[in-house]
Amino acid sequence: MSKIDENEIRTRLKRLSQVEPTRQAADRAIQRTRRTLMNEQEQRESTAARIRKAILKGTVAKLAAAAVILIGLGYVAGRLSAPRPLDVDELQAALESSLKSSLEPALRRELLEQVGERQESAFAANLTALKEELQQQFGRDLTEFAQTLATSRTLTDQRFRELIQLIEAARRQDRLHIEAALEKIELNRWHDKARLGNGLVTLAARTNELRRTEQN
């Protein structure tokens, strides 16, 4: 817990507010401050005067001052001898109309040319891009077509080979069938021939038998 409360602090501050310097001390301080200020002003003024004097002593400074005076005189003479002061508003209006009449068509023409050039350049750029794109597309299509063609040729060859093999197999099969049929025909002919021979033999035997019977 603090031993000093706010009342005590206020009391101390009040005691401080009651501290008063002596009248003599205050007067002395004010006088001294005044003297200091005056001295400083004098010192400042004397320094400025010395600087001015030093500047004016120099030859270059004199020439510069003369030049400044001459320029000033020339300016004043020029202003006085001028026919009449320029009307700034009138001058501005005249300049404005003159500039407008001379610059407007040229500006318009230039603007149109610029727009045309920009459009042409944009079109040319677009055309070039389109051409390149078409070429690329055509190249891609050709490559694809060549690949397809090569693939189809291979496939066709394969199909032809398979067809030839099939035809060959069919021909071989037919030949076998024909051969079997011929063999069977030959066999049948042999059988028929044998039967005919036997029949003839039988017929001859019967004929002979019949003749002998008739003879008998």
């Binding site: 603090s2 000093i4 602090i9 507010s17 501290v19 001390a25 205050a26 301080a29 401050t33």
Partner: protein, 177 residues
């Protein structure tokens, strides 16, 4: 003579005594107050922003407060010359009573020096210079309500600082006792 110098001399005539009294209250030394008074006016004379100052009296007073506390910070505790300080409120005229009171005042001023600038200025103007809240508010560019709050917080801060000083005697002090 430039208008600036004229203004300064007029300010010196008008407020010189008050500024000197303020410096004396904050330094508790007339000789130091005299030196600081000169320093204050030289600073004002060389100040570049003088054209923008609206109230010269208030500006000089704030500059004096800051100058005095700068001096206090630059020096450690300075022995008070009792013969230069009159304390009409004091009933105890004995040398011991004066010594105790002057020690308390130094301690209080050191604590005020530890406040931030705006609180310090408000506190000094209110409690040491006995100015009204409205007047202080005008000088500090704040509202009276803000100044009142600043002063209140400053007193609380002082109470804490001074209370902690009383609570915690240093080892050196203990040793001396």
């Amino acid at each position: 003579m430039r208008s600036r110098d004229k203004e300064l001399l007029e300010l010196l005539d008008k407020s010189g005594a008050n500024l000197y009294a303020l410096l004396t209250r904050l330094t508790l030394r007339e000789d130091v107050a005299e030196e600081l008074m000169q320093e204050l006016f030289i600073k004002l004379s060389h100040s570049r922003g003088r054209a923008r100052v609206a109230n010269w009296d208030a500006y000089a007073r704030r500059a004096a407060i800051n100058l005095a506390f700068d001096w206090r910070r630059s020096r450690k505790r300075v022995a008070l010359r009792l013969e230069q300080v009159r304390e009409p409120a004091s009933n105890d005229d004995s040398p011991l009573g004066k010594l105790i009171h002057s020690e308390e005042l130094q301690e209080t001023l050191d604590a005020v020096g530890r406040l931030n600038r705006s609180s310090r200025e408000a506190l000094v103007m209110r409690y040491i210079q006995q100015e009204s809240y409205d007047n202080i508010a005008e000088q500090l560019g704040k509202t009276p309500h803000q100044v009142r709050a600043l002063c209140s917080r400053a007193v609380i801060h002082l109470r804490d600082v001074l209370g902690s000083n009383h609570r915690k005697p240093s080892e050196k002090e203990m040793h001396n006792v």
